[in-house]
Amino acid sequence: MGTNLLAKVWDLHRVRDLPSGETQLFIGLHLIHEVTSPQAFEELRERGLKVRRPERTFAVADHVVPTDGVRRPLADPLAEEMLTAIQDNTAACRIAFFGPGCGSQGVIHVVAPELGLTQPGMTIACGDSHTSTHGALGAVAFGIGTSQVRDVLATQCLAARRPKVRRIVLTGERGPWVAAKDVILHIIRTLGVKGGVGFAYELAGPVVDGMEIEERLTLCNMGIEGGARVTYCNPDEKTFAFLDGRPYAPGGDDFPAAVAWWRTMASDRDATFDDEVAIDVGGLGPMVTWGITPGQAIGIDEIVPLPSSFREPERRQAEEAQAFMGVTPGKPLAGAKVNVVFIGSCTNGRMSDLRLAARVARCGTVAPGVRALVVPGSERVAAQAEAEGLADVFRKAGFEWRLPGCSMCLAMNPDRLQAGELCVATSNRNFKGRQGHPQGRTVLASPAMAAAAALAGRIVDVRGMARADA
């Protein structure tokens, strides 16, 4: 019987079994940002402890940074305090820090893969739930809280419960304009927002094999929205090609040596799993969410479900969500008026996302009254998008081309919704109040669908914008 990737990585990093029954797990790569780390550094100081392996922690500022210009001190004194804290903490502990303007700053889950920090076979932890993103390269990566950030800083270890593994085999031919975002929203609506609790999701099958690494990053990013703290894809030739030449990836003679090792760090052909499901994406169209959890999603050509089509407690949740969102059950979501469009985030802020959005943006201009933001995932993405002319495409079409950061995904910087505004967002959460106003409303969609909504001023099916196919 073969072994799956999670088991291989887990066993390789098991320091010991703890009396609690948990594993003391060595963390190969620790990523931190300004929101969930200051209290951890403070506790180290209070306890007189040092950072055990500063060379294995990498820091960014992403959540609070303004995207319309980073002038110090920041206008928000609390944001300034946080930015100063991570600068000071990383300097004092000799941790590499990618701050605004350094050329490599950006959203942590965009930065680490693009720098080649994220590699197959690693354990990766970060005080951020979307750490599952890094599983796209064959790492076991998961979000942790601030006390656990403290634990990793002090010991490079965590007390961790080993998850079961559910293999999700994705089959079928993806239709035109059906993005990784649509596939993961479909997985979440199929298995539920808590379907993955207790599991790591292994995403496999021809659909995953056919995806580029950036698409896999989008898939794994939202695994946590389905409850799976760890989501991963097995590394393959695309993974190795993606890493080749990246600054923190193995170089010289060590690259082929690394590839040889990485080939062993994948689920064996005869690997066993705790659960296996197959999901067909053949008939899938572009997806949009109609509610207040990422699982409340439909294809753009479907109708908003009637609450009576659910059993309790989903029925009550659907009623609450539909009342909050102001959507009508039994009707399609297409046609709903849009106030704001947000293209960016650790889900969809990479080059391939911007290229798709730009293909649509070339077809027109942003509708009057719509505020449309494009927030590149990192300074490297921004530079590349400028070089390819995408930034100009967006500007010409009337989008605001911003600086990198988390921005309106969670609205910890000045990019926020106003009361009642409806935002089509390429980010990952449509929770009540998520985008900065308790009455702000979020519709999650792919970059192409978001760009189409910006041009139309309404939720539309990007497949109907024929010129975008050109």
Binding site: H13, V15, R16, L18, P19, S20, G21, Q24, F26, G28, P38, Q39, E42, M82, A85, G103, S104, G116, Q119, G121, D128, S129, F142, G143, I144, G145, T146, S147, Q148, R150, D151, A154, T155, C157, L158, A159, R161, K194, V197, I224, G245, R246, P250, G251, G252, D254, F255, A258, W261, P313, E320, L410, A411, M412, F431, K432, G433, R434, G436, P438
Partner: protein
């Protein structure tokens, strides 16, 4: 540094119906603009509390120590600010149908006991507490029961969480630090820590 052992939590309850209550609702992101957890307690459920019927605004539940809620509590963001806010509001135990995993870890790190009861019992308990907010509940980790009105209900919980709370190792840092040599030995065997980098960016 040894944490306190937690065997039993007794106190009045605050009933919070609903499922999939995410950490953005427990503590909205604007309150994460801070470098300390102090002061978060008063902002627990800040936006939801604008509804005057919210149990966290209801004076009858002021001083409650046990939160009773539904399924997949604490889903979403990994912000430890969520259980830290609940702890500072006064919560010492949460009885739910189920918990999101990162929240469960974070609550445990804060010394909050998260225990599970079946849905019908949760619904009964929420109804009972609404009717009689003054009644005391007990969550007993040793006996693995929730006690209410002289009745005992068997609870379910993640065993490693139960052990850490009872052992006083819910703050697990000292335990992890004991195995420093073994961690170093393991690190020396990891192939990827020995790879030379392609090049450091400017």
């Amino acid at each position: 540094m040894t944490a306190q052992s937690i065997q039993r939590v007794t106190g009045r309850a605050v009933p919070l119906g609903g499922d999939d209550i995410d950490t953005d609702r427990i503590i909205p992101a604007r309150f994460l603009l801070c470098t300390t957890f102090a002061g978060l307690g008063e902002h627990a459920f800040e936006d939801d509390r604008k509804d005057p019927g919210h149990p966290f605004s209801d004076p009858r539940h002021a001083g409650a120590k046990i939160l009773v809620t539904g399924r997949n509590f604490g889903c979403g963001s990994s912000r430890e600010h969520a259980p830290q806010a609940l702890k500072r509001w006064g919560i010492a135990a949460v009885i739910g149908e189920s918990f999101a995993e990162i929240f469960l870890d974070n609550a445990t790190s804060c010394g909050i006991a998260c225990v599970c009861l079946p849905r019908e019992l949760i619904e009964k308990l929420i109804g009972d507490v609404r009717q009689d907010p003054r009644a005391e509940l007990a969550v007993d980790l040793a006996a693995r029961t929730v006690e209410h009105r002289r009745r005992n209900y068997p609870l379910a919980m993640v065993e490693s969480v139960r052990r850490r709370l009872r052992d006083g190792t819910w703050d697990v840092l000292a335990v992890l630090a004991e195995a420093r040599d073994r961690a170093d030995a393991l690190a020396a065997r990891l192939p990827y820590l020995a790879f030379r980098r392609a090049g450091i960016p400017r």
